[in-house]
């Protein structure tokens, strides 16, 4: 039997972000709920396909703009390996600007959400650089911006710049709840042959998750611990000093 049921009690919805007590029109969602869902999905889709503004890397204080070997967004999405390598000729460009062997390398990548970079990095990055200095890092390479970047591009940068610790701030795959979530990946001596198991990640950096300033302090502390422990990844103990 068909029925029109508007939103009902709000009380159970306080316990979960799931879309419950939403009512129905026959067996289908109400118009308001249908459009709310489509609005959230549209934000997520636009976030994936967006590109960072031309002025963003400079405004963020990046000393260099580099790019992965992915030719365009479509290749980047369908062949993740292209986002883990740097484009041809980038090694020379990078070495012309940055001296290898720093204690820490800081990189920013658009990843799957340039919008997350635009939203979180302006607050996170200056704070991170300050926290790294407070944690005793004297030589900091970068920040470097990498267009069409996947997490593994940290190892490609590490191969060229040979830092003790590598940090990559990168936009996460957008969900319906937020398209503005950023992750920070850290690795000790990033380079060829490293994998996900050799890195640590602080994810969920956004307004509704870990605040950017809080994230900056945590990332700097982890970087310092990695340097002291001379390791990262599955064997790394963030709280062991």
């Amino acid at each position: 039997m068909s029925a029109l049921l508007r939103e009902t009690s709000r009380e159970p919805r306080e316990r979960t972000s799931a879309r419950i007590q939403v009512g129905r029109a026959g067996t289908r969602p109400t118009t308001a709920q249908l459009l709310r869902f489509q609005e959230d999905h549209a934000c997520a889709q636009d976030a994936v396909l967006a590109t960072v503004d031309a002025g963003t890397p400079g405004r963020l204080g990046c000393v260099l703009e580099s790019r992965s070997s992915a030719r365009d967004k479509s290749e980047y999405l369908r062949n993740p390996g292209t986002g883990r390598k740097l484009a041809e000729g980038e090694e020379g460009r990078i070495l012309a600007r940055i001296t290898p062997g720093a204690q820490v390398l800081v990189a920013v990548g658009d990843g799957l959400s340039p919008a997350a970079v635009e939203a979180q990095v302006p607050v996170l990055l200056p704070a991170l650089l300050g926290c790294l200095r407070k944690e005793g890092f004297e030589s900091i390479a970068g920040p470097v911006f990498v267009h069409l970047a996947r997490v593994g591009v940290l190892d490609a940068l590490g191969e060229i710049l040979r830092p003790e610790v590598g940090i990559l701030l990168v936009g996460e795959r957008p969900g319906l709840a937020t398209a503005l979530s950023l992750s920070a990946y850290l690795g000790y001596r990033p380079g060829p042959g490293r994998s996900d198991a050799d890195r640590n990640v602080l994810s969920n950096i956004h307004e509704g998750g870990i605040q950017p300033l809080q994230a900056a302090a945590m990332v700097a502390r982890w970087a310092a611990s990695m340097r002291r422990q001379a390791s990262s990844g599955v064997g790394f103990r963030p709280d062991a000093g």
């Binding site: 039997m1 009902t8 799931a18 999905h41 369908r78 799957l112 969900g175």
Partner: protein, 457 residues
């Protein structure tokens, strides 16, 4: 002789599995692996060659040699010799025609005699409507606590996930799902915290709510790793099904932390603890996981998916579902590729004799939306799919992807004249949520179950 002539041009292929890969419908995962056809014509030439290959060749020449791969050995162990003798002389093209002309019981009999690679081969020669038509004839019946399957039944897994496993949040989504008559296959939760303690907490609380308080005729599952679930069971935790994700090669299974022996142990563990249950295993599969694990051995993702079904078959599952569209655009690029893969996986599972469901889903970084998902759900429901996922508005707030909703399940049942499993429907009728298989005026309001019912029994 793996060659053919088409319009005056000759096409040669180096190996059986080069033909298999190139005969596939276009999928980004096969492109990523560098094994797909280089042109539309080469794809059809490969299908020409494939259509003439005798079915017997797939037992002689498995995708990965039996000596080095236990999935191959599981597939071979699952083949029923009398059925095999009936089919082995046919070509793949002939097998397609016979499948399309046969009735359901015959298809179930033949399926038991077919190696997984041969099932994959014939799927490659079938159009989308071929796949729907053949699948719709195959009715697979299973029993755990309750009975499931059979023709005219469209069931659902109620998936009330919560980002931090908050129990009140899980139960709120669970009650909402029940109020749309979802959950007759299983109430299955993906835990955010997959430690033994957390999994047991969720398993016990959800079992109490579903079984003791409400008395819903269904099953409960918490989808942690099989080893974790076994520990929960040994400690006295309450789970009806043991869940595990499968892969189509031994190396990929190892990357999942599983082996054939582990699956046998998990099943034996639950059968011993709960002898009253029928089938006790719940498996998930999905094209692309072997390539993702770097363990595909140059084999195409459709063939490897079929091999997952061959592995599942010898462990006699209550539920199997492919998760089609979760893994990302590098394996299935868009709604069209997802639709094709969903129909293939469902058909191959059914021909293996499995109670096959489909998680019809997409992520936000692929070229697909809710319309693609709804279209595929209609096709699969028409194909007799055993079950879909039921998630509040299709938005899983823990796994961050979109799948079928409580509303979608109710719509598919109403539009296509499908019913929930009989015992579940009878319970829903008594509760006043269903009448003649359709939602009543009371449906869609979770307060129906939560008001005064919780822990009152």
């Amino acid at each position: 002789m793996l060659q053919t002539r088409m319009r005056g041009r000759s096409w040669n292929f180096g190996s059986l599995y080069e033909v298999m890969a190139k005969a596939n419908a276009p999928k980004s995962g096969d492109r990523l692996a560098g094994i797909c056809a280089q042109s539309a014509q080469e794809r059809i030439a490969a299908r020409q060659v494939l259509s003439e290959i005798p079915v017997s060749r797939f037992l002689e020449e498995p995708a990965v040699p039996a000596e080095r791969d236990e999935v191959t050995r599981a597939i071979q162990a699952g083949i029923e010799p009398i059925a095999w003798a009936e089919i082995r002389g046919w070509s793949v093209g002939e097998l397609r025609e016979r499948i399309l002309a046969a009735n359901g019981p015959t298809l179930l009999r033949w399926g038991k005699g077919l190696p997984s690679e041969a099932i994959a081969a014939v799927a490659k020669l079938m159009s989308n409507l071929d796949l729907v038509s053949a699948s719709a004839k195959i009715a697979v019946d299973v029993r755990c606590r309750t009975r499931l399957g059979g023709s005219g039944i469209l069931s659902s897994r109620l998936q009330p996930n919560h980002p931090t496993d908050d129990l009140a949040g899980i139960l709120a989504s669970l009650d909402e799902g029940l109020s749309y008559a979802c959950g007759d296959a299983v109430v299955g939760i993906n835990p955010a915290d997959d430690s033994v303690g957390a999994v047991r907490r969720t398993a016990d609380a959800v079992s109490e709510h579903v079984h003791d308080v409400l008395g819903v005729p269904t099953q409960v599952s918490v989808l942690a790793h099989a080893t974790t679930q076994m520990e929960v069971l040994r400690q006295g935790g309450r789970l009806d099904l043991v869940f595990q994700s499968l892969a189509g090669t031994e190396d990929a299974c190892r990357s999942f932390g599983i082996s054939g022996q582990l699956l046998s142990e998990a099943r034996a563990c639950q059968k011993e603890l709960r002898p009253e249950l029928g089938q006790v295993m719940y498996f998930e599969t999905g094209q692309g996981s072997e390539l993702s694990a770097g363990a595909h051995h140059g084999i195409d993702q459709l063939t490897l998916e079929s091999r997952c079904h061959g592995l599942a078959r010898i462990h006699d599952p209550f539920l199997v579902n492919t998760v089609v569209g979760f893994i990302g655009p590098e394996y299935l690029a868009d709604g069209r590729e997802v639709a094709r893969a969903g129909l293939e996986d469902h058909f191959m599972g059914k021909l293996h004799g499995l109670p096959m469901g489909v998680d019809v889903c997409h992520t936000n970084h692929m070229d697909a939306d809710q319309n693609d998902l709804e279209s595929l759900a209609v096709l699969l429901a028409a194909a007799g799919c055993t079950f879909f996922m039921g998630v509040p508005m299709g938005d899983d707030v823990m796994l961050n992807y979109q799948t079928t909703s409580f509303h979608d399940l109710a719509t598919l049942r109403e539009t296509l004249g499908r019913r929930t499993a009989p015992a579940f429907e009878a319970w829903m009728e008594r509760e006043g949520i269903l009448r003649d298989g359709l939602l009543t005026e009371s449906a869609g309001d979770a307060r129906f179950f939560s008001a005064g019912r919780r822990r009152s029994a």
